[in-house]
Symmetry: C2
Subunit: 357 residues, 2 copies
């Protein structure tokens, strides 16, 4: 199809305190006594939020180690464990940041699809719907709550399971859950949204649908990260909507240079997506002059340290690996630099950029 | 639930020319040889758009007379006819403005629910999902493409079938379909969106989800109706997104005085929703001073005549009917005027307002 037919999440609830409706929301989606599995970011282990999870019957909380971004092997292992322990389950509820939500989506799909999740990295390869899945973000900015992908690092590539079966059946947007996020993490994740707005609004692929969402997300990020005064509940509310709108804007747009370069870092060094984008954005004046200037004001105003020198001491082979991964993201480069992108972003130029990071 | 768990439409495609993907979009939703029914605004009878409808097998085009807004009797008759002629159908595709889309939603539901559609006017009364339903707006502004209602005039009230079964499974947002809309009609329908943004953004019910959508819709309306230069494709694109965003903003907001008063006109006189809102908004300086001033600039700039004197010569009984219908819209009044709205908007005050229209 010329225009993507965009699969929406099934249900959205937005509200400060809406997490407390979770029991009621899940009830009609329980299948007999098959348990609900709550996949929770390990950050919350021992924290108060866990006590508020509405466990019933054989329901289980599993903590997801998201020190590194999700791997296909991790997904396969989780799905196998659940099949072994329960046979079938009612559904998966992912509670955490983008990594946890992506894990939840992937495990849901792998409960009903044969083989390894690595077999489904790509576009529209997933064969069957997963089990019921709900996403509850505790960090704002990734847009994973509304995306039709779940980014996984596999044996040969970092690529999502993009399919109409991938979006959540339900998302619960409760900005109160983001209140206690560490300040740096909140910034990096928020910048995932900001950077992707800059990349998509200045890109060559765009229509009014994605432009409207992107502009709103951008405006909310500006209000949040450049506004006066202390961080308040209203900032969390706005950043959560920025993330949602930024995620929706991806329907008919594409990210650009920061994401393409950051994917290389993430593949080789395990650099997480949010901070990786920031590390790269810091050096992209040539491509996004106004956006990078504003980004630097945000960094300063929010007193964030962006790591530098992370590529020091890498071997030629390692640089080549990053360059290969990055240049493989053809649609991103084309969006940023146009049809002739390969003439503009040569291997040499990209190597020089990586060396500066 | 304290916060509404908002059911989203299943799929959205946005794009100039996306109507031509309809055959491909419908294909996986066809059930054997059961036909797709295309319910088309009678405005398009004999027009070129009808030739582009991808008819297959026993598919049928039915023209919907939307001279007046949809009635429960009209819905019941259409559903009965379809059951009699085909037994079961694959789905209903509504092509037109808000009335046609609401009719399509209602007929879809009545294919699978017993009794009369009048039995389901209210909140969450619908028992079973309808047949597959797709909405294709040819006028922008009502938000009917994303709403969870379908407003119907029944034997005793004008009220929608509000339910989680009501939203479309698919919407096709092709701004090119709105190009040839009559100028006045386009304005009145666009103002449905503008007015409801003013009502909801200035109301007492609102959260960041609805505020974000409402602000974006408002901004797009301002660009469209107050911008410089001739009407272009970009105006149609923006107005279509304004309608979508305005519809989404209703999730956690409420309309206000213009809608409440306009419902009375519509019930008694059959005044259509878009023009009715304009007729009322023209006299609401007291409630929405900035919004009404801007509305009047839009009217002037777009050289629109808003009818006046439409309540001249009505009897006391007729005024009472309108007042009863209007004051029955309690949540709208509360949103506009707060908890004590009944002390503010007395019958006498409302009568005086109707007399001015």
């Amino acid at each position: 199809m010329k225009f993507r037919n965009f699969k929406m999440v099934g249900y959205v609830v937005f509200g400060r305190g809406s997490f407390d409706q979770l029991d009621e929301i899940l009830a009609p989606n329980r299948k007999g006594d098959a348990p609900m599995i709550f996949l929770v970011d390990h950050f919350f282990e021992g924290k108060e939020l866990v006590n508020r999870i509405p466990l019933r019957g054989r329901d289980k909380v599993i903590y997801a180690d998201v020190t590194y971004e999700p791997k296909t092997s991790q997904v396969d292992k989780l799905a196998d464990q659940l099949k072994q322990e329960f046979g079938t389950i009612s559904g998966i509820v992912g509670i955490g940041g983008g990594s946890t939500m992506d894990l939840a989506k992937a495990v849901s799909l792998m409960m009903n699809n044969p083989g390894s999740s690595a077999d489904y990295q790509g576009w529209d390869l997933v064969k069957y719907p997963g089990v019921y899945k709900a996403g509850i973000p505790t960090l704002s900015g990734t847009g994973a709550e509304v995306s039709r992908t779940c980014v996984l690092t596999g044996p040969t590539r970092k690529l999502g399971m993009n399919s109409d079966f991938t979006p959540f059946d339900q998302i619960v947007l409760d900005p109160a859950l983001t209140t206690n996020a560490p300040r740096n993490q909140r910034f990096y994740t928020g910048m995932d949204c900001y950077i992707h707005c800059i990349e998509s609004l200045e890109g060559t692929f765009l229509n009014e649908f994605s432009k409207s969402y992107g502009e709103k997300a951008l405006q909310l990020c500006q209000e949040v990260f450049l506004g006066d005064g202390e961080w308040t509940d209203a900032h969390d509310d706005k950043l959560m909507m920025a993330s949602y709108a930024g995620g929706m804007s991806i329907a008919y747009s594409q990210v650009g240079v920061a994401h393409a370069v950051s994917y290389g870092l993430s593949y080789l060094l395990g650099t997480k997506h949010g901070i990786g984008n920031c590390i790269v954005m810091n050096h992209l004046e040539e491509y996004y002059p106004a956006g990078v200037a504003e980004f630097k004001r945000m960094v300063e105003k929010n007193q964030i340290d962006i790591p530098v020198g992370i590529c020091k001491g890498l071997t030629d082979e390692q640089f080549d690996t990053m360059i290969n991964v990055s240049l493989g993201m053809k649609p991103l480069w084309e969006n940023a630099l146009g049809k002739d992108w390969e003439k503009i972003m040569t291997r040499e130029k990209l190597r020089a950029l990586y060396e500066r990071l």
